[in-house]
C-alpha cells in the first residue's frame, strides 16, 4: 500500500477550493467559510506530525475542517438555552387547526433533498475537476463555472480558440467518465 505524505506548500492551490466549497455549504457564509479553511490549513500544519499516512491528504484536511465547522457552531451557540429544541404550536391564527401532525414534513415531497443533492454534486464535480490535468481544469473552470468569454480566456492564457475547444473537449470527456458512476 502506498503511504501518503503531506506537502503543505501545495495545500492552498490543490485543496482550497474543495475545502471552501465544503465549508460554505455548512456555514452558509463565505467569509466564515474562508476563515475556517484558513484555520484548517494552519491546524493541519501544526499537527502534521500526527499524520500517519493512511488517509489521503485531502481526506485528512477535510477531517480537520469538520472539527472546525463544529467548533464554529459551538462558539456561536454557547449560550445554553440556544441548543434546546423548542416546539410550539403555530402562532398563525389563520392556520386551520393547530395539529402538530399537520406541521411535519410531507413524506412524499423530496423538495428539501434538492439542495443537499446539489451540494454533493458540487463536491463531486470539483473532485473530478481536480483530477484533470491542470491546464484542462483551468480552462474548463474559467469557461463553465466562471462563464468567461472564449476570447477572454484565450487572451488570459495565451492560447488560440481551437486549442481552447480541444481542451474543453478533453476536460468534458474526462468529467463524464469521472462522474459516470454516480451521476449519469
Amino acid at each position: 500500500m502506498e503511504t501518503n505524505n503531506l506537502n503543505p506548500d501545495k495545500w492552498v492551490n490543490l485543496y482550497a477550493d474543495y475545502l471552501f466549497n465544503y465549508a460554505v455549504t455548512r456555514v452558509s457564509d463565505a467569509e466564515i467559510a474562508k476563515d475556517l479553511v484558513q484555520d484548517t490549513f494552519i491546524a493541519g500544519l501544526k499537527s502534521a506530525k500526527n499524520f500517519k499516512g493512511d488517509a489521503a491528504e485531502r481526506t485528512w484536511l477535510i477531517a480537520i475542517l469538520k472539527r472546525k465547522v463544529i467548533d464554529h457552531y459551538r462558539k456561536i451557540n454557547s449560550k445554553k438555552g440556544k441548543a434546546e429544541v423548542r416546539m410550539t404550536y403555530s402562532s398563525q391564527t389563520d392556520a386551520e387547526g393547530d395539529w402538530i401532525e399537520e406541521r411535519i414534513a410531507d413524506p412524499n415531497s423530496n423538495f428539501e433533498n434538492d439542495s443537499l443533492e446539489n451540494e454533493e454534486l458540487g463536491l463531486a464535480i470539483q473532485n473530478c475537476i481536480s483530477k484533470l490535468p491542470k491546464k484542462q481544469a483551468q480552462v474548463f473552470t474559467m469557461k463553465t463555472i466562471k462563464g468567461m468569454e472564449t476570447e477572454d480566456i484565450c487572451n488570459a492564457l495565451g492560447i488560440n480558440a481551437s486549442n481552447l475547444w480541444v481542451m474543453i473537449h478533453r476536460a468534458r470527456t474526462g468529467l463524464m467518465g469521472c462522474l459516470n458512476q454516480n451521476w449519469f
Partner: protein, 76 residues
C-alpha cells in the same frame, strides 16, 4: 453535408455554451442521427452541462487564494 465525428464533437461542445450557429446545429443533428456513438456522447455532454448548472459550486478567486497562501506562509 455529412460531417466527421471530430467536427461533430467541436460543434457539440460549442453548443453547450450556446456558441454554435444554427447551421452547425443542423449538421450536428444530421450526424447524430446516423452516428450512434456521437449521439450518446452528445446526450452525455448535455447532461454534464445541466449537472454543472444545477450544482452549487463555489470557487475562491485567485486574489483570495493568494491572501490565504500569504497568511499560511506567515504561520509556518
Amino acid at each position: 453535408m455529412m460531417i466527421s465525428c471530430e467536427k461533430a464533437a467541436v460543434i457539440c461542445n460549442k453548443a453547450q455554451y450556446d456558441e454554435a450557429s444554427v447551421l452547425d446545429k443542423i449538421k450536428l443533428k444530421l450526424h447524430t442521427f446516423i452516428c450512434k456513438t456521437c449521439a450518446k456522447h452528445s446526450k452525455n455532454n448535455a447532461k454534464l452541462t445541466s449537472l454543472c448548472n444545477k450544482a452549487s459550486i463555489n470557487f475562491l478567486t485567485d486574489e483570495e487564494k493568494r491572501k490565504m497562501n500569504e497568511n499560511f506562509n506567515k504561520a509556518k
